[in-house]
Symmetry: C2
Subunit: 329 residues, 2 copies
Amino acid sequence: MSSREVRLAARPVGEPVPSDFELVEVDVPAPEEGQVLVRNLWMSVDPYMRGRMNDTKSYVPPFQLGKALEGGAVGEVVESTVDSHAVGDLVLSNTGWRELAVGPAKHFSRVDRIDAPSHYLGALGMPGLTAYAGLLRSAEFANGETVFVSGAAGAVGSMVGQLVKLRGGTAIGSAGSPEKVAWLKEIGFDQAFDYHDGRVTDLLAKAAPEGIDVYFDNVGGDHLEAAIASLRLHGRAAICGMISQYNATEPSPAPRNMTMIVGKRLVLRGLLVSDHQDLTQQFRAEVGAAIADGRVQVRETVVEGIEHAAQAFIGMLRGENTGKMLVKL
Amino acid sequence: MSSREVRLAARPVGEPVPSDFELVEVDVPAPEEGQVLVRNLWMSVDPYMRGRMNDTKSYVPPFQLGKALEGGAVGEVVESTVDSHAVGDLVLSNTGWRELAVGPAKHFSRVDRIDAPSHYLGALGMPGLTAYAGLLRSAEFANGETVFVSGAAGAVGSMVGQLVKLRGGTAIGSAGSPEKVAWLKEIGFDQAFDYHDGRVTDLLAKAAPEGIDVYFDNVGGDHLEAAIASLRLHGRAAICGMISQYNATEPSPAPRNMTMIVGKRLVLRGLLVSDHQDLTQQFRAEVGAAIADGRVQVRETVVEGIEHAAQAFIGMLRGENTGKMLVKL
């Protein structure tokens, strides 16, 4: 059978460009014993993928030049050699960036049919769990506290704010356009601002005149500096991502107020969702119920066709998405 | 009775200069009911005092212009109005920067007579407890781990390294002169380097080719950047001080590798000794015994006379001390 996949043609320097990617038609072999053949319905583009495009040692190996990229995908089994997986089963895997995927059945987790399977890549998937574990574990959020989240209109950030509201806290978010800010207020954020409207430190001081207890960092740079200034005694920051840095060709200067970490006894804690898979069931049950009864709103920005996947990824890094950025295959 | 005290004459800009301080002769009143009169024998100069000389809100109020400075002091009761304090008792207080002090008895803690009462300001005092609590609590050090400490030849740093060795770990230290480096090796550090000998990142990579588990930060800036690069997965940093920044008039650009906090799931935790007073007894018993039987070495740099206290403080910020910097009154 014939499929298309997206390969890394060149390692991006700074902001990725379309020529860094290559769409290739390939023959997919029939599944061998123990394998399944899956047609992907949805694939994810996520900020962390930018790091894997660099040839640097990190927590995951870099993508290989000339090889297909990888990432979250939801698909349907079209051919199976194992009892555990039936044709038609909905599965979650890391075989994104391709239309058809073949591989060991154990690499494809069966998931329940739900109204919007794409949620398994966003609100009910890796970004949602990142928000959940980051807020409750990394940042040790206590009900009722005040939380500032940057990149608040993204897949992770929008979930952070809504989880805070579900737990009686105050949610403050920053985003990159007036439309996003309006959406944040619509879904319950107490305060939201467009970071283009001034110095982030000033904007945050205005939004949180009494300071914040928790910062959930998706952006880094001046957002982290503003948060360090605003955090109260014993405040905590979950360092989840620093999207402002991913395309940087020069290392960015640190927050210039790092000494405040001492006097305020702040805790900055790096967060990687893979450490928190044990929370998956609890998280899906809680957030699934909140989505079902409307207490949590989910928004997705959908690009159609694998031929536009690279553009979706580039656009996501530019902030063109509201909520989760997805590619429908 | 007549005494001398050191007052803050001007708020230092950058590195403090002698004219920022003023030595004044004052009359000390007789102690009122509930008060004691104490002759200070030793006073401490500590890095944190530099922050209090700025007119900025912090965890302690700034020193007031024209008023006597404050800080740790060990003295002897010379007059008492209370049963709890007898003439001749050794007391620890925050009445440094003056020869005679009068005040409520409860502000003067009675301490046991020991061979070297000056240790109450260093190895058995605030700096020692800072090392103890920072290593065991803030950095969650586990026996046998590898620890890098900056400012290792200072009062706090030299204790950190020796506590690591007492617990079967590997101690790596940086300091500012070949003499200090030699002393660190003498007291048991496994590796020590002079940070003037190259980029700290390179020097640390050479000293700890397999990386470190814990960083104890007394310096900030490029030392913190080097540590972030060297820390292993789930590494921890106790952020105790950033002496490289205290005299800075411009914020420092480093560390420039903050994104590594995410992938390595690092934890940076601000440390202030006042949160850990509950450990005092346990700490003094353990470290006191280790000093007594020679497992922990104590070094002090002593300046004589209150008229040289300002110079001792300025010199300490420049790194002129090895071990604790003290003024003998």
